[in-house]
């Protein structure tokens, strides 16, 4: 499966967050590396999208959308940093 960048799921993420979450910085539970979600690798299938750490491939988050609902889980993220100004 051909992956894209975290940038690509800015649209689906905007269903959950009132700001652009792709610029939020997440710490990977697997290797401890810290990067913007936009730098994560995204694997998308008809079932949904999986975000993986660009350094160690650990699953950071999973995103599933249906007609009337959407789900997101941050199973591999230990912390998220958002810039305030």
């Amino acid at each position: 499966m051909q992956h894209v960048d975290g940038n690509a799921i800015a649209g689906p993420l905007a269903e959950f967050f009132a700001f652009d979450a792709t610029t939020a910085v997440a710490r990977c539970n697997g290797c401890g590396s810290v990067a913007e979600l936009a730098r994560a690798m995204v694997y998308t299938s008809p079932a949904g999208s999986v975000l993986r750490c660009a350094e160690c491939d650990q699953v950071l988050a999973t995103l599933v959308e249906s007609e009337d609902r959407a789900w997101i889980g941050f199973s591999g993220v230990s912390a998220i940093e958002v810039r305030r100004g």
């Binding site: 051909q2 894209v4 690509a8 009132a18 936009a38 730098r39």
Partner: protein, 270 residues
């Protein structure tokens, strides 16, 4: 007056507040096709009039949602070729052979048709002119590297740079199959006349008459000679197919660029 108040009051509408609002808030909008023209033999340029559009930064994208009569929906992301506060949003769309959305947008859509758009999206793969709010890349030279239709967000950045009379050095390396496949050919030639912008073209399948180098893909050596060197600390934006971006990004790191200075936008494909 506190710093925070000063910052807020000096920001243009829609860009005000903290970095949480560094780009206009995304939302769903209805756009009306205002103009459509052939961009290349395989691509179309669409101008959408989106009355409620809050403006966008150069490099952002939007999602287009099409709904079939039976309620089936298909959503795809497209980079925006325009930037600024305008409600006229320009897209340049490559037709994918087995696509669900792009064949409609390239071959079927007519002036007056309406489409649903979600945006503006993505605050990471953006460039803002020097002095603009949230200009995080201030005073850093910029190297743009695009493959095929990956040129669209990079053209938006180059045009924004030109329109802002920004003197930060800008270079673009554009890999394209043949001279017929150039997006924004006239606009890029006009930009090239400016001192602060340099365009390097690489033709991968067919060259124009008299072109000094044979057709062929971007190589590590070609990248090293065309791109701004790492010691000038450029911000490098790379957009194209996943394979193109992977190759270029790994070479950039080998050539000494800091991975944090490289921003990529892969769109899949080969």
């Amino acid at each position: 007056m506190s710093d925070a108040t000063a910052t807020t009051s000096s920001s243009p509408a829609g860009y005000a507040g903290s970095a949480l609002a560094a780009v206009p808030r995304a939302g769903w909008h209805v756009g009306t096709v205002a103009a459509v023209r052939r961009e290349t033999p395989n691509a179309a340029r669409l101008e959408l009039e989106v009355e409620t559009w809050p403006g966008n930064a150069a490099g952002q994208h939007l999602d287009v949602r099409l709904t079939a009569p039976d309620g089936y929906t298909a959503t795809r992301s497209y980079s925006i070729a325009s930037s600024g506060p305008s409600t006229r949003v320009v897209l340049a769309i490559d037709k994918l052979p087995d696509g669900e959305v792009s064949p409609f947008l390239v071959d079927e859509v007519r002036v007056g048709d309406q489409v649903e758009v979600h945006g503006p999206l993505g605050a990471f793969f953006v460039w803002r002119p020097d002095g603009a709010p949230h200009a995080s890349t201030r005073a850093r030279p910029v190297q743009l590297i695009g493959g095929g239709s990956g040129i669209v967000p990079l053209y938006a950045m180059a045009q924004a740079h030109h329109d802002a009379l920004d003197l930060t050095p800008f270079r673009m390396l554009y890999s394209v199959r043949t001279p017929d496949d150039l997006y924004f050919a006239d606009e890029l030639m006009a930009l090239e006349a400016s001192d602060a912008f340099r365009l390097d073209l690489v033709y991968t399948r067919r060259i124009p008459e008299g072109w000094p180098t044979p057709a062929g893909r971007v190589t590590r050596e070609g990248l090293a000679s065309a791109a701004l060197p790492a010691d000038e600390r450029p911000i490098v934006y790379v957009c194209g197919s996943t394979g193109f971006v992977e190759r270029v990004a790994s070479w950039l790191i080998e050539l000494g660029h800091d991975p944090r200075d490289i921003r990529t936008e892969r769109f899949g494909g080969l």
